[in-house]
């Protein structure tokens, strides 16, 4: 480059006025501004929709006819843990059974889509209130139970059935002393979870 001083082009630049140098300097500054660039990156957003779960009530929990007494008592609808369980009805002293009509509630649990079809259910924990038709009295139902293996209930389920299946639910009716005669009814919620 030292010999470049003899190059006619360089000599022409060298002969240029101070204005030429200022132009070059300002171009240099513009080059640095250009260097303040931008960058983009395309990444992916994704989601998986699992099959939806449907639970349909196909039969009521029915404690049947109950005869009260001066003392409080209970009536229970019991289940065995089988796909089609044996359903029985028992009473404690204070309440006695009448008639033969009673039933466990039944629910059809179905799911759509692909993936793990295992399902567990959550039964009511708090007592559910049954209100007498026409008012004036109430009873409670608690100790809900189902035909699923005990380890398949709650938040840390063990072996659970694959949907579709029928869920059977029983419970315990608390009958007061001298419970007013009438028809009592209420609602309770069962939640099915897939995992």
């Amino acid at each position: 480059m030292g010999s470049g001083a003899g190059n006619p082009v360089l000599r022409r630049i060298a002969r240029g006025s101070a204005a030429a140098v200022i132009v070059l300097l300002s171009l240099g500054a513009a080059g640095r501004v250009d260097a303040q660039g931008s960058a983009s990156f395309t990444s992916t957003a994704s989601a998986v929709i699992a099959g939806s779960l449907r639970i349909t009530n196909t039969g009521p929990l029915h404690f049947g006819d109950v005869l009260p007494s001066a003392a409080p008592g209970t009536v229970s609808v019991n289940l065995t843990t089988a796909a089609t369980p044996t359903v029985t009805r028992t009473a404690t002293p204070g309440a006695s059974l009448s008639g033969t009509a009673f039933s466990a509630a039944t629910f059809l649990v179905e799911r759509t889509g692909t993936g793990n079809p295992h399902v567990y259910v959550t039964l009511p924990i708090a007592p559910v209130t049954l209100v007498r038709s026409g008012g004036g009295a109430s009873m409670t139902v608690d100790t809900f139970r189902s035909n699923l293996n005990a380890t398949c209930n709650g938040t840390s389920p063990g072996p659970c059935p694959s949907a579709p299946f029928t869920l059977w639910v029983g419970g315990r009716l608390n009958v007061g002393g001298n419970q007013a005669p009438g028809i009592y009814s209420g609602t309770f919620a069962v939640t099915a979870h897939q995992f």
Binding site: F41, S43, A50, H193
Partner: protein
């Protein structure tokens, strides 16, 4: 001779500046700012309901849901490495996120992702000496009533601009 030597110096200065301009114009220098993805944005597995709902991933990677039940653990915020290759000062950069993106699913099924949120938000600073910053991005997924089951995805663009 004195005059001539100064002229040569000026000529060298000019040649140096021109060479610098040519180098940046032809991209031979490292890009002044780069961004690369470390992790994609994933909403994970979702059980839809009859009423629809939404799932939000915050930039820290937490997941919250409304109206739908979320399943499993396969979810996370998008994460990027922003690298600034210029010297001098605190290299601030501005962040441009999408407004909304449509995820394509099975058949003609779609879902919308919107409310993109980043950490840092709006402007980042790839502080010296490393001049490297981590940028995390979350968003909200809109799940329709009885959303068809399957895998949904779409690309989305995050842009960083040097300077603010």
């Amino acid at each position: 001779m004195v005059i001539r030597r100064r002229s040569i110096q000026i000529a060298f200065l000019g040649a140096y500046l021109v060479a610098g301009l040519v180098r940046s114009a032809f991209g031979q220098q490292p890009a002044p700012i780069t961004i690369s993805t470390d992790r994609d944005l994933s909403f994970g597995s979702i059980a839809p309901g009859p009423a629809g709902g939404s799932v939000t991933i915050d930039p820290a990677g937490g997941r919250t849901a409304a109206g739908v039940v979320v399943l499993g653990s396969g979810f996370g915020a998008a994460s990027y490495t922003v690298r600034v290759n210029v010297n001098g000062g605190n290299p601030h950069y501005t962040i441009t996120l999408p407004t909304s993106v449509t995820l394509q699913g099975p058949g003609a099924a779609t879902m919308t992702v919107d409310t993109f949120v980043s950490d840092p938000s709006g402007t980042g600073n790839a502080k010296p000496p490393a001049r490297v910053d981590q940028l995390n991005v979350g968003a909200t997924l809109r799940v329709g009533p009885n959303q068809p089951s399957g895998s949904y995805s779409a690309p989305f663009l995050v842009t960083v601009n040097l300077g603010n």
